[in-house]
């Protein structure tokens, strides 16, 4: 059953279109991550759902009720902001209590709710501190608490972790996942960080220049990207894209592609292959020189300079098989993991395996 339903929601300011008409459904208890580069309209979309920005067209329904004409506070939606947006002159307790206080809910009930939430978020010892006495992670938890106290139907998170250092970000990510599991709440989460999207989401919505490129589970997006953009945006390091013109200069590549997977490459197509789908093979058809190595621990990323390609080819291998810098290596793709894209439409035709 869907909780939130966006129909033809769009936004333009003057003649500039920020968001094309968009349709999206979010199911009860689902964590949907909206991801995209800056300027893709993801925050605008979130703010429109929250009621902070007006819609240019379309409707938003929450549990079958139309909400796009209501005030933000009457939408049963709570939002957590990027800079926490805690009220600096109020204590943690008052901050969390704030939304209830202005709804005129009685004091005893308010107090109980705040303590309940402080329990859930492990904030008990900080209740009477002021926001500037807290660390970033604690502030973020208070912000989440202030959102929780309204028991909303839907939580909105606007890049909530981008101000934290990477260690804390990991911790908060798992805290949000746990909270989501514990409360079963429906969450829409905006971020520009694809790792965050991959690790948190039940479903990911990829936005690009005000358009939805693809909606799907993290695995779907990783394995079956619908377009070149999604293919390059999801996954780190990003996918290698090899153009027909360059591939033509590699002896035997096309023939091998045809013999391995039965696809004849056309001039207007290009090939996408993830760094992890490339391996070192003495008989490999691509040869190049290792110019840089990035060690990640048990894996490493080789930056390979191939004469045929303008850009470095990225290869992700086990650190034990590290050939050393400046060595010349032969590379062979895992043919089953090769994607073929139309260059003009940028749409993915097939992953070879499926054809």
């Amino acid at each position: 059953m869907e909780t939130l339903k966006l129909s033809n929601v769009s936004k333009s300011i003057g003649s500039t279109c920020i968001l094309q008409p968009t349709n999206l459904e979010v199911k009860q208890g689902e964590l949907v991550v909206i991801v995209g580069p800056s300027g893709s309209g993801k925050s605008t979309l979130l703010r429109m759902i929250a009621g902070l920005d007006e819609l240019s067209s379309g409707t938003i329904k929450l549990n079958q009720d139309r909400i796009d004409d209501r005030d933000p506070a009457d939408r049963q939606i709570a939002m957590v902001f990027q800079n926490y947006a805690l009220y600096p002159h109020l204590t943690v307790f008052s901050n969390i209590e704030f939304p209830l206080k202005h709804k005129g809910i009685n004091k005893v009930h308010r107090k109980n709710r705040v303590h309940e939430i402080a329990e859930t978020l492990d904030l008990h010892e900080h209740l009477f501190k002021f926001p500037n006495e807290l660390s970033g992670g604690q502030k973020q938890r208070v912000a989440i608490g202030r959102a929780m106290i309204r028991s909303p139907e839907l939580f909105l998170f606007d890049e909530p972790l981008s101000n934290l250092d990477s260690d804390l970000r990991g911790k908060m990510r798992s805290a949000i996942r746990n909270l989501h599991r514990k409360l079963g709440s429906t969450i829409i989460y905006v971020t520009h960080d694809q790792t965050e999207a991959m690790t948190l989401a039940d479903r990911i919505v990829v936005l690009r220049a005000g358009c939805i490129e693809q909606v799907g589970t993290p695995l779907e997006l990783y394995e079956k990207p619908k377009s070149l953009f999604v293919a390059r945006f999801i996954g780190s390091p990003s996918m290698n894209i090899l153009h027909y013109k360059d591939l033509a200069s590699i002896t035997g590549f096309e023939a091998k592609l045809f013999s391995e997977v039965g696809h004849k490459l056309k001039p207007n197509q290009c090939i996408g292959v993830r760094p992890s789908a490339l391996q070192i093979d003495k008989l490999g058809c691509i040869s190049g020189k290792v110019v840089d190595i990035e060690y990640l621990g048990d894996e490493c990323i080789l930056y390979v300079d191939c004469l045929a390609f303008k850009e470095h080819l990225l290869v992700k291998i086990n650190s034990q098989g590290d050939p050393g810098i400046d060595s010349t290596i032969q590379i062979e793709p895992n043919w089953k993991m090769v994607h073929i894209f139309d260059r003009d439409s940028q749409k993915r035709r097939v992953r070879v395996e499926e054809s």
Binding site: D71, F81, N83
Partner: protein
């Protein structure tokens, strides 16, 4: 670059402070002297032969000085309340509604900074007369509020413009309307600005002689500054009483400044009144 050593900076500042404070000191000092003491040696401390509190006695015996202080206090505090309340409200409202009309309205208010209200005294006098507000504290409060508003709106606009948008968005999500957001979120967080505006507006209101003299000369609504005038005659001046009255009249402004100067200085150094 040449820099003054810290000690000499303080030396110059001390000299400046002495120069600035000396007149006030002399006023207070001489208010405790006899008439001949004042004119015999204005700079000396009161000694047993010159010590006298006759000035203060005259003040409280022959005039209703406590009433004047009460009037001044009432006028000043109510005007301040209106200047701050209306100023903040107007600034916030005009900033939030982004229409062309609101921009013009804002400009119209700001023009008031450059046009002295006294130029319109005749008009104001007629207006007050037709509104039946002559010789009333309400009339003076209206005038002072109008006089203080432009600067208050101007300063508040500049400060509110830089107020974190996310906090306002957050307050909206939490169910606060514009007025409540202003009162519960924005105003508490811009307190130094309010202190600055309070000081800027307070001094001219407390010290004003012009409007009380013209609009409200009646003894019942007399202000402190006007009250002092009655000791300054055309031929004789009761200096003891004048100095005593001035000493008392200065006190509140000093006290309030001391109370909120920390905020005031913080705001000045934060560059909030640039412009």
């Amino acid at each position: 670059m040449f820099r003054l050593p810290k000690l000499s900076v303080h030396f110059f500042l001390a000299i400046y402070a002495v120069i600035a404070l000396l007149p006030f000191g002399i006023i207070v000092l001489n208010s405790f002297k006899t008439r001949s003491g004042i004119f015999g040696d204005p700079l000396s401390l009161p000694d047993p032969t010159t010590l006298s509190i006759a000035g203060y006695q005259t003040l409280f015996a022959s005039t209703d000085f406590l009433l004047y202080i009460g009037n001044s206090t009432l006028i000043t505090s109510v005007s301040l309340l209106f200047i701050i309340g209306l100023g903040a409200g107007a600034a916030y409202g005009l900033l939030e509604s982004k229409t062309t009309l609101s921009k013009w309205l804002w400009l119209l208010i700001i023009v008031g900074i450059m046009v002295p209200l006294r130029l319109g005294t005749v008009g104001l006098l007629e207006l007050m007369k037709s509104l039946d507000l002559l010789n009333s504290l309400i009339g003076l409060i209206c005038i002072y509020t109008a006089q203080g508003l432009p600067l208050a709106v101007f300063i508040y606009t500049e400060v509110f413009r830089r107020f974190p948008k996310e906090l306002i968005a957050s307050a909206r999500m939490d169910g606060l309307g514009s007025a409540k957001t202003l009162f519960f979120i924005v105003m508490p967080l811009t307190r130094p600005t309010t202190a600055t505006i309070a000081i800027f507006s307070l001094v001219p209101v407390w010290n004003d002689l012009w409007f009380p003299l013209i609009i409200a000369p009646d003894p019942n609504v007399r202000t402190v500054t006007l009250g002092v005038q009655q000791f300054i005659g055309q031929f004789t001046v009761d200096w003891q009483a004048v100095l005593a009255a001035l000493s008392i009249a200065m006190a509140p402004a000093f006290a309030i400044y001391a109370l909120i100067s920390r905020n005031f200085i913080r705001n000045l150094s934060a560059g909030s009144i640039k412009g």
